[in-house]
Symmetry: C2
Subunit: 331 residues, 2 copies
DNA sequence: ACGTGTCACTTGCTCGTGTCACTTACTCGT
DNA sequence: ACGAGTAAGTGACACGAGCAAGTGACACGT
């Protein structure tokens, strides 16, 4: 009976099994509207499909329709922190009920992204971070159906702004609220992070300006406690009592540097991070940081994709409530 | 001229442009063997293709050939640590020259992986970790061309064994070499990590047995310094002087717990982690840990995929040199 | 009896490639 | 002069699904 299940069942097989034409099978399985099909037939076909374990060939479908059911999550090649992993998982879950499959690809700048796009013909592409104009042109040329860009601004209607500046702003506001007058900023040396760095720093600057504080004293931290020690010395000399770190990793380097220099945190110098990485709760002292609610971010991304694909509904935005300060002991 | 570049160019368009048949175009672009084509024609076609920016439709090609050029990297839904990110990037780079595109998908156990498989029809699937028999059966049924499983054993020829036990073994050996007689093991409470936990622990056990030490004193650590403090108290009462932590995150919780309890690391209790996460260098004290060379792991994975797909060459194994102890101060 | 409408389907074309089989034209050995 | 062999290329058929258009059967109104 089932002897020849070597090959995958096609809709043709289902049609034969149910005693109807292939088209009918197609109509039934796709719930094609404006088609009148008696329940008896429908049942027969559905059962036949189940019996043969039929599942449509994605490539054939894609060929016919012009796009697949894959949503491509395009990530830059720099370290994006664990928050992304959580977002990815949530996003995949949000997209599943719509029949969309999420796959991730980290984009290596050596290779054009045409490859990935063409290899998948995705229904939508979500990319995080900003790319160069070259990549922009490539995407344009590839005629992507929907493009959700998670970036800083909302210059195009398909863009979903992530409140990056607000992260810096919240850091600064927290420091100001706890009595700090002179604020420092610890930037990463990694060049590829510049977009994020600049925007977070911009947020810090804005907050300082609004609160009537001096502009932040910016120092670059290398991947080494010694560089942190040096920066800390300079900050202290300049009267800085609170530092906003680019993220928790930089904050941890700062903590290590402070330890070496005999500087007490938060008494001599307060430190606040970003991302609330798992380890942040276990540093010495535990790190005060800004968290991101991956759930809400993912929900908005999913919403943008669905709206873009179906053309119905309205695009939301990422609410500022995705960010929150987790107060521990470092600030 | 270029006015109608709205639609993507097909091989038909290239054929017309070059004044040959579509078949010829196909032969040339695919370097089909046993075909005699004069250089003049070849050039003409290649130029026409370039001029029209022709790139073959992945779906059509996939439909015809039965599989795509996508390699699917199937990840489990538990937190796998940053090492994976590095491996992913390396792997993608290794596969590119073979015309293969790597995409990742984290597998949610609620949903069967049929979806992803069918949505991509990948040329190969690499999965890390062990899945249940249900998923195994699903994969079997889906007739995957090559399956590289990164797991503990090498029970099937397509499996690539990752020396997980060896990680635990190296931890224990390092502790023993630095004079510790009684060894503890700090396990994570997360149930999904059990495969990894059990194997690392197994390595620790083996090493202890071989070195003539007592079996390790295993304690489970919750995501909370208090639970670490408790475990540390019990270890010290039992005469344990060195602890192997499941990974650096657990090790960090241990460090935090020790701090609270006034236990000095490494003098009162040595701690060694695993993974060499970025933050490990900046803890107090800096964490001694076992690193994984993502580069070598990725190279072997790529090798397995290529061998499996082309049928030529020989499958290598992951050398034990991928692991190394980074001695810092915690042990 | 005849036109119209709806139901329940089916026929046939299309998406873009890969590839087998087949046709010319031309060269060469005997 | 003639068959064999090769170079250079073409025609036609899959692959599996979606969809526009068509078809026969029956019901209903006049």
């Amino acid at each position: 009976m089932e002897h020849a299940s070597r090959r995958r069942a096609t809709s043709q097989d289902v049609a034969k099994e149910a005693g109807v034409s292939r088209t009918t099978v197609s109509y039934i399985l796709n719930n094609t509207p404006h088609q009148s099909i008696p329940d008896a037939t429908r049942q027969r076909v559905l059962e036949a499909a189940a019996r043969l374990r039929y599942t449509p060939s994605a490539s054939a479908r894609t060929l016919r329709r012009g796009h697949s059911d894959v949503v491509l999550f395009l990530l830059p090649d720099w370290p994006i922190g664990h928050a992304i992993a959580a977002v990815t998982e949530q996003l995949a879950q949000h997209l599943l009920p719509h029949g969309l499959t999420l796959v991730s690809h980290t984009h290596l700048r050596e290779r054009p992204l045409d490859d990935v796009w063409r290899a998948l013909t995705p229904a939508a592409v979500i990319r995080v971070g900003e790319f160069g104009p070259v990549e922009d042109e490539q995407l344009r040329q590839a005629q992507i159906e929907v493009l959700v860009e998670v970036g800083v601004s909302e210059s195009s209607p398909t863009q979903l702004a992530f409140p990056i500046q607000r992260m810096g702003r919240m850091q600064a506001e927290h420091l100001a609220a706890t009595g700090h007058q002179r604020i420092g900023y610890a930037a990463p040396s990694e060049r590829r992070l510049s977009v994020f760095r600049d925007n977070r720093l911009h947020g810090v600057r804005e907050a300082c300006a609004e609160l009537g504080l001096d502009l932040p004293d910016v120092r670059t931290i290398e991947n080494d406690p010694a560089s942190a020690t040096e920066a800390i010395g300079q900050w202290r000399a300049a009267g800085v009592t609170g530092v906003c770190a680019y993220n928790d990793e930089i904050a941890m380097i700062l903590l290590a540097g402070a330890r070496r220099a005999g500087v007490r945190v938060p008494d001599d110098l307060a430190v606040i991070g970003t991302d609330n990485m798992h380890a942040a709760a276990f540093t010495d002292p535990p790190l005060t940081t800004v968290t991101i609610d991956a759930c809400q971010v993912a929900a908005q991304m999913a919403n943008h994709v669905i709206v873009g694909l179906t053309g119905t509904g309205t695009r939301g935005r990422i609410p500022s409530s995705v960010l929150d300060v987790v107060v521990r002991e470092s600030a």
